[in-house]
Amino acid sequence: MGEYWYIRPGLEESVNGFFSAQPEADMALESQIPEKDFNQAGKGSAEVKNLLKRLGVNPGILRRVAVAAYEAEINVAAHSLGGTMMCRIYDEFIHIIFKDMGPGIADIEQAMTPGYSTADEMVRELGFGAGLGLPNIKKNSDALHIHSERGNPTLLEFLIYFMSDE
């Protein structure tokens, strides 16, 4: 049973409040991520980026969203049997949820270690699979939650606030 939580210090109350209330989003965006389709992968996060530019989100924050979303999207394409990306936009933050169809992460703590990767030959040949995906998502998000176990679908979700630090 794998469960991983990270919340940026100082945001615990707000993040926990959000996850327990799960309010309805102001806007939603959904896209499919086909297995091992690296032409398609990245389109979803590009779409989110364009949307956030239209909303006038701070450029620094926008880059964090772009990196985290792209990493997660590539993760799903590279390691899973395919999945979906769901974006929920609120006026203070963005909540992005990735659900795949398995096969699950055997050891999340290990997967969070920079440089650790289970990517196969084909994925590495395409220039992915350096083992920086999950740590990079964590670095760029304000809250990260992963729920996964071997043999089952994985859920990864993160929150990024529009007004934080920078």
Partner: protein
């Protein structure tokens, strides 16, 4: 009015009489700056980045590049021309480098100088800058005015990655202004320095430089505009080739690929990108931090670099091949850069940090922007999704955006209008039919 809202100068204008409202220009604009309203094309000056795509797309000569007229040089006692490197790719191979250069003197200039003279020095400046700014990766070249404006508009988070020093033609301008003042004993306002350029963006940049601290050029002429006259002079000069100095190795500046190769060295990895669509794709990847392994990226809006500028005469591939030949056959030349180094250290080539031009956002207030975005999506589901441009906006998405911003209405969609009128007609006929049936 804020600085950003003031009218922007652009080196192109629309001749309304020639415009048929065909929307060719609307479709090729990378920043969606053009709309056809009342059957005439209009350019949003806040969005235009002077790429020149619309000029090339217009079949009716309705979008015209603007550059200065040659007689403005007579307002100055001492007239200097600085030629863009791409100029030398514009002539057939029987025209020598020297003849092509001499012909410019015949236009009435007292002095003709080449961008190529300082490009090697610029390469060293770039390397210096890359090494001094290890925390910023990749450094993006700032020579192409269209690229700089594109970043201000669509990729503001990358403004700090721009190479923040003047480009070769401006460096040369600063150097010449100082040295001519001393050598000839002239006042600053007696010296007129003009650029001969391959594109609209460089004309715009002369009249509205971004980040310039100092007095730069006094005007710009396009290669296309002077070409006819220059060819006449070349005819006469051909039999009697002059002996003047040339800088063949420096001509690499016209070619984005060759320029990147020259910056590339043991500790600097450089990438070359050209063509406005490629540039936008790469900037988006830089935004995602996916090209951080590069130290420097040469970005040029036109095909192959400045040789692809829309005010050139020759095809960009032919011009590139000619310039490559000149570089290959040219001899290495030691150029005295002592004075340039002095000016460089004195901060003469510094530019101010640039600000963004956030024209993409729907509203300054994110809450209002979200409301507008929802409305936009709603409108979008009703639009046909054909991106036919018949409404005068570049796509259905852009029309939805225009409607939300109060710049268009749903009635502008011709496809919907036709659908509605057909439905109305059908229901009318049904009514008549059922009325007849009753009778």
């Amino acid at each position: 009015m804020s600085k950003q809202e003031k009218e922007y100068f652009h080196a192109l204008h629309i001749l309304e009489d020639n415009c048929t409202g065909c929307t060719s220009c609307v479709r090729v604009c990378p920043t969606e700056a053009i709309r056809v309203r009342d059957r005439k094309a209009k350019i949003d000056s806040l969005r235009c980045v002077d790429c020149g795509n619309c000029i090339e797309a217009c079949a009716f000569h309705a979008i015209i590049p603007r550059s200065d007229t040659l007689d403005v040089i007579h307002n100055f006692k001492y007239k200097v021309a600085i030629i863009s490197t791409s100029y030398f790719g514009q002539f057939t191979e029987d025209v020598s480098y020297e003849v092509a250069k001499q012909a410019l003197y015949e236009l009435g200039f007292d002095d003709v100088q080449e961008e190529a003279m300082v490009t090697q020095f610029q390469v060293e400046m770039i390397r210096d800058y890359i090494r001094a700014n290890r925390d910023k990766r990749p450094i993006l070249s700032s020579n192409c005015p269209t690229v700089v404006r594109l970043i201000q508009l669509k990729y503001p988070s990358l403004l700090s990655n721009l190479f923040q020093l003047e480009a070769p033609m401006s460096i040369l301008t600063r150097y010449l202004r100082e040295s001519i003042k001393q050598e000839k004993g002239l006042e600053e306002n007696e010296i007129g320095i003009f650029l001969i350029v391959p594109c609209v963006a460089h004309v715009t940049a002369v009249h509205q430089p971004e980040g310039a601290y100092k007095h730069l050029q006094d005007g710009a002429f396009s290669i296309g505009m002077i070409y006819g006259k220059v060819r006449e002079y070349i005819k006469h000069l051909k039999n009697n080739p002059p002996k003047i100095e040339t800088f063949p190795k420096g001509l690499m500046w016209a070619l984005s690929g060759v320029q990147a190769d020259l910056v590339d060295c043991e500790d600097i990895r450089a990438l070359s990108v050209n063509g406005v669509d490629n540039v936008m794709e790469i900037l988006s990847r830089v935004e995602d931090h996916y090209l951080d392994q590069y130290d420097f990226i040469v970005l040029r809006s036109c095909t192959n670099g400045c040789v692809g500028g829309c005010l050139n005469v020759e095809n960009p591939f032919v011009a590139m091949s000619r310039i490559k030949k000149m570089i290959k056959e040219g001899k290495d030349k030691k150029i005295d850069v002592h004075d340039l180094i002095e000016l460089y250290h004195a901060g003469e080539f510094d530019v101010a940090p640039l600000s963004s031009r956030p024209v993409l956002e729907l509203d300054k207030d994110i809450k209002k922007a979200i409301v507008k975005m929802k409305k936009l999506n709603e409108i979008l589901t009703n639009l046909p999704g054909l991106n036919c441009c018949a409404c005068g906006s570049p796509s259905c998405y852009a029309l939805a955006e225009d409607i939300v911003q109060g710049k268009a209405t749903i009635e502008d969609c011709i496809v919907l209008l036709r659908r509605h009128s057909r439905e109305e007609e059908e229901s009318k006929q049904e009514e008549i039919k059922s009325a007849q049936d009753k009778v």
